[in-house]
Each structure stands twice: as structure tokens, then as C-alpha cells.
């Protein structure tokens, strides 16, 4: 058991380089006038 580090997630972005890109997820505008969401808070639809 690690004493110095707790890892919160094991999801790896790299694994999505070759899968993904299906584009079924929601659009994410980032400006003030819309349901602005940074992409980080989107959920993958797959």
C-alpha cells in the first residue's frame, strides 16, 4: 500500500487516442453566453 501517494483515477487519455472520436458526445462552448462547459467536465457517451 502506497504511503506517500494516493492515485484518484486510472483512466488514461492515451488509451483514447485510437478509439474515440465518435462525436456522439455533447458540444461544449466555452464562452459566457452559452451552456459553457470546458471539455474536461463532459462525460463520454460510449
Amino acid at each position: 500500500m502506497a504511503k506517500h501517494i494516493i492515485t484518484l483515477n486510472t483512466a488514461s487519455l492515451q488509451k483514447t487516442i485510437h478509439i474515440g472520436g465518435c462525436g456522439e458526445c455533447q458540444t461544449s462552448c466555452q464562452s459566457a453566453c452559452k451552456t459553457s462547459c470546458t471539455v474536461g467536465n463532459q462525460v463520454c457517451q460510449k
Partner: protein, 459 residues
Amino acid sequence: MKLHKFYLNGVYIVLDINSGAVHIVDKIAFDVLDVFEGHNDAAVLAAFAGEYPATQLTEVLDELHALISQGLLFAPEVAVPPTYSVKPLVKSLCLHVAHDCNLRCGYCFAGTGDFGRDRGLMPKEVGERAVEFIIENSGPRRQSEIDFFGGEPLLNMETVRHVVEYARRREKETGKVFKLTLTTNGTLLTDDIIQYLNKNNISLVLSLDGRREVHDRMRPCADGSGSYDDALHWIHKTVQAREGQNYYLRGTFTAYNLDFAADVLAMADEGFTQLSVEPVIGKDTDYELKAEHLPALFRQYEELAQTYLDRKLAGNGFDFFHFNLDINNGPCVAKRLSGCGAGHEYFAVTPEGELYPCHQFVGREEYRLGNVFTGLEAARQPLVERFRQAHVLNKPECRRCWARFYCSGGCHANAHLFNGTIDKPYQVGCELQKKRLECALMIQAKLSLAQAGKSGREG
């Protein structure tokens, strides 16, 4: 740059940028990472010899090496996914069904709704053609989105109703699925409209700026009176009628309310739980946010994050859009590159049917890309391609930025407004973005510690 580490609210956090792994570390591991580069153990031991016992340093190094071998630390640079190079497919449209508005919001980029042009309502035929434009240009993709926008879209319910009916019919015929959203200031809602929007499963984005005085200062009616009471009355009714689901209550903060955390909480205290409050975009105005405001705004985000966390843990939480971070099932790399998709996957449609990269670009003539009747103009393809390529791995500032895969490169419209090019992000926006992300990561860390029954790793 491969790591981003920071201390916030009692926790030391390390983000491994390229894998997306998030680690809570203790002080010694945090310090070690100032020197450690993945292989130079001897240098680490030498650098901290007087400060930490060798046994502890070795433990830390062992743990760090274990993470490296699992791909969760110093993960290699992310490449542009092969799926990204193919021709972009249209996935969403913003329909400006009314270039007109009953309010006169001080910061409205649409210039009181008319986008610097004649006040116009979108005819039904343009709406129909917009639906066909998505169907024709979305390839095999099933899900797409249509946002009824303005000005104030409730000023043209006739077209809204027509397009909804048309889109629902075409869904059955084509197998496509349209997610419909309507963005409104709320003041023109009626019981009949509320019922209609609920029945047709239309998501709502409702605008409110928090406290009454803040709201009324920036969101007056045409006669100069405040719009808060009206807006709040109808927004309450609407949200109740949809049982608190399927809406976002969103506001804008400006230099007039640098203490905007109070506005977010005012909305939460009204009983709303789906909140988003964002920095205004303005240039050469009294209300614009400037670099000198950043320290105050950072403190606001930190305070807000603390209250957000306290309320969540106490069981009376609310969602604040920028703090909702999914670190386990976030989007794929392709999505993180395409970001908002403006100009290649996402377009705005004017009442006349003209296509622009997004709602913010409407009226910036050099960015007109075509129209829904004849499609994107061949001569404008290079511009579409420029938008597609203006992603975080191609923009110099973003390539160096730790937030690149969360932010996805910021807003092109702001970049263009402030820097005259979509390739150089708007700096004040970047600083706010990074602060929000640190807060969001801290919240994730604190929530998971709370779940595990630990209070933090102070020392």
C-alpha cells in the same frame, strides 16, 4: 511540461497531464517532484539529503517509479488521433431564431439582440433547411444538437414550434437523434410555453445573474427597469414544472461584481441546483475583466470551491458547471482537441440562413461560411480547416499549457477579439480557466478523501 502540481485547501495535488491521472501526494513527494524527472534518483537523494531521511526518499521514489510503469506519471506526449484527421462532421447548430430581444443587457455580444443588423425573425423554411443541413452533413453520427438561440428565441415561438415538430418527424425518418436546447432570459415564458417545452423534452438554459442588484444593473428591460423579479418568477415556475431536471441556470459576472461567488450562492439559496456562472467577455468597456482583477477572482473561485464542497458533504450540494469534472470517464482525445467545434463541427445560423463558425462570430463578415440552402462555400473550406486545426496541439501557448486537455484551447471568438487571430488564446480567460480547474481537481481530491474517511495528507 508533463506534470502540474499545486497545493490548495490543505492538499498537495499532482496532475499527470498526458495520461490525465490525478494524484494526492504528501509534502515529501510533492517536493521530490521539483527535482525528479523520471530517472534521476541519485540527484533526488542528493538534493534532499539534509531535509528528508533517505529511507523516506527511497519509498517515494519507489512509488513514483511504480506509477511511471503503470503509465500514470510522466506519460508520453499525446499524438493527434487518426480519427481526427478525417473530414469533420456537423454535430450541432445554433439557430438564431430571433435577432431581437425584449431586454437590453449591457454586455450582450449580440448588441441588444440584432447583432448589429436589422432585427429579424427566422422564417420556418430556414429552420427546416437547418435541420436538413445537419442530416446531410453528419454522416453516420446519430446524436446531434440544435440550440434555439437569439436574441430571445421566445420572440419567435412560431418557428421554434415548427422546427421542433419538423426535427422530431425527421428523427423518425432518418434514425438521427436531435437534442434540443433553448436559451432564454425567462421573462417571456408563459404557462403554455413551459408546458410545451417540458412536453417536447427541450433542455433549457435560463439566464440569471445572481443577486437582484447585480442582475438588474446589467439586465434591464427596454424601458430601463430591472428584469430580475420577472425572470426569477418564471424561472422558478419552469424549474418546478420540470421537477428540477434538464436545465441550467446560468449567469455572467463582470468587473461590477468581482465578488461573484455571492451570486452563485444566491442562486443556490433560491433552490436551484444546476448552476453555471461565467466571466463576461468585453473589450474596451467599463465592465470588462482585466488582468488586475485576477487575484480577487481567484480568491472567489477558491471560496466558492470551499462552500461547494462543504454543501456537497453536508448533503445539500449544488452543481457548478466548471467544478463538475469527470476524471474517470472524461472525453476522448479527439473531443479534447475539437473542443467547442466552432467552424468545423458547430455552426450558427442567422435568421436569413447564413452560416458562421458560432454564435459569437455572427456579424463578423469575414467569417461568413455559407448558408443552409447551398451549404458551406467551397471558397471558405480553408477557413473551416483553419478552425479544425486550431486545437491545443497546434497552438503554441496551449501546447505548453498544463490545462490543455481539460480546456481544449479556449474560445476562438475571444482569441480573435483580443488577439486578432484564433491561434492565440485570450489570456485572462486562460488564467481563470486554470484556476477553475485547480479548484475542480481539489474538489475531486477532497471528495475522494472524505469517502475514504481521511481528512487530508498534510505532512
